[in-house]
Amino acid sequence: MQAIETHRLSKSYGSRRVLEGVSVDIPTGTCCGLLGPNGAGKTTLIRVLLGFLRASHGEARVLGQDCWRDGPRLRQDVGYLPGEVRFYERLTGARTLAFFNAVRGGGHTAEIRRLAELFDLDLSRRVRAYSQGMRQKLGLIQALMHRPRLLVLDEPTTALDPLVRRTLFAELRQVSRQGRTVLFSSHTLAEVEELCDEVAILRGGRLVEMSRVDDLRRRAVRHVEITFRDGRAPIAPPPDALRVVSRDARHLSGTLVGAVDPLLAWLAAAPVEDVSISPPHLDDLFMAYYGGAEPLPC
């Protein structure tokens, strides 16, 4: 079953198109990263999925239900953390969560306590006295407290210190292991790479990539540096996957896309003094999407 399905989804404000023909399928139990530069349409897509915005064209279904028509019912199973989370300033953290708990029908007090301990948040203080990081923790607790089947987090690590970030990631991995789905919006590649198994990349309101992170890694660039013994470079041409950037009799530097086997086979027959092959870097691939250049070949 798909947790999120959109088909040719578009959203316009007058003549300005914010989303254009976005079709995504995110299976249940996946942790999916939603990547894109500022203004790519990530937040708009999330707001359509939650029923805040009405799609101009196309369809959007969450947990098998129509996002616009079945909003209240489907939100029973959705936890959401907005990009800029705001609370009722006069309430304490505990009263805030009690309100959300009551609107959701109650019964989540034990989970609230567990999450407050996990994130080390003092719920007795008023929200107005909270720091930005504490507000973010409160937002995470309200999103997680009812153990939703789908968790939608818009830039959740904003204002979190590295320790809390690690705790959050561990919790999200646990959520994913339980067969629940996480949609994690970010513009930080490293976070998505660390946490997610799928990634959707938006640019200019369009979906430009939807892949498993492992597949992307296979397509990612490795930087290769080779030093040949006694300046005796091999006569055989290098494998096609290796794009040579600079070469002389002693050194070769280039980038490798795809499997390393052909390179290793080529090197085995060469008088190699030293070789370094970097881990696959998704950055170059993503910068190509972000910057508007053609992505690297598969």
Partner: protein, 272 residues
């Protein structure tokens, strides 16, 4: 249609202002009776011979008071006084704009509307609070006047039973303003605008009614103002329920409220 948690939160948020409005109205009406008690019937008659005062009173209560002055008719000033309006309307505008426009403006709408409740439910739950509170605020001037009469009796007893009729009419006016405010609050995204538009409408209404006794143009325009349909002295004099006036006000209120609900159900909720 109704969520108890939202209802309770809205009521709790409004409680402080409600208590202040209740105290203010009670104190004002009591003091008003006391102030009126300082005039004798004859003195009041003389006072009301002043042309400017007569005009101003006429503007407030919708009729020339001097021609039929009794303690009971005198009390209609207390039922149409700008201070009473201020107490009632400031509560009304605050509560009606807090949830939709206010939530969007503050950015808390993102969390509120991500909860498993429909927009209709949020709208109705909020409306129950101001409609219920309005019953108290609209009828409170009568007990306030009763209290004032007890503390400082006038030259003749006030017929309190007759004052309930303009009070019901006052509630209809409250509903009309509330309905308009809910509509505006459902349409705009800034709370300041949501307050300013209905406030502008009622102030313009007061201004036109005031000018109506001096300008034929304003007299013509008066029919399209809200305050035209609230004339406490006329109601007291006739002793008949102002059914058409109340239905007009309730009609405006219900129509605007329903339009606001329809708009809210269809509109986008923008990020703050």
């Amino acid at each position: 249609m109704l969520n108890v948690a939202i209802l309770r939160k809205t009521a709790r948020d409004a409680a402080g202002l409600f208590v202040l409005a209740v105290i203010a109205i009670l104190v004002f009406e009591t003091m008003f009776v006391r102030a009126m008690g300082e005039f004798s019937g004859e003195m009041s008659q003389v006072w009301l011979q002043n042309r400017l005062v007569r005009r101003m009173v006429e503007m407030l209560v919708g009729y020339d008071l001097a021609s039929d002055l009794t303690p009971t008719t005198l009390m209609t000033i207390g039922l149409a006084h700008p201070l009473l309006y201020t107490f009632q309307w400031s509560f009304l505008l605050t509560v009606c704009t807090r949830v939709i426009a206010g939530e969007i403006d503050r950015g808390t709408a993102d969390l509120l509307f991500s909860l498993p409740v429909s927009r209709t439910c949020v709208y109705v739950s909020t409306s129950v609070v101001w409609l219920t509170a309005g019953l108290v605020l609209a009828f409170l001037p009568v007990p306030g006047i009763a209290l004032g009469q007890r503390l400082a009796p006038l030259w003749m007893p006030i017929d309190l039973a007759r004052l309930w009729m303009p009070a019901v009419n006052l509630y209809a006016l409250y509903v009309a303003i509330g309905g308009i405010t809910m509509l505006v609050s459902a349409v705009v995204v800034r709370r300041g605008v949501a307050v300013a538009i209905p406030l502008g409408i009622v102030l313009a209404s007061e201004f036109v009614v005031f000018l109506a006794h001096m300008s034929p143009v304003a007299w013509q325009l008066m029919r399209i103002t809200l305050l035209y349909y609230y004339k406490p002295l006329v109601v007291l004099r006739s002793g008949a329920w102002p059914v058409s006036d109340m239905l007009t006000l309730l009609g405006i209120g219900v129509a605007c409220w329903a339009a606001g609900l329809l708009w809210l159900r269809r509109r986008d909720i923008p990020a703050a």
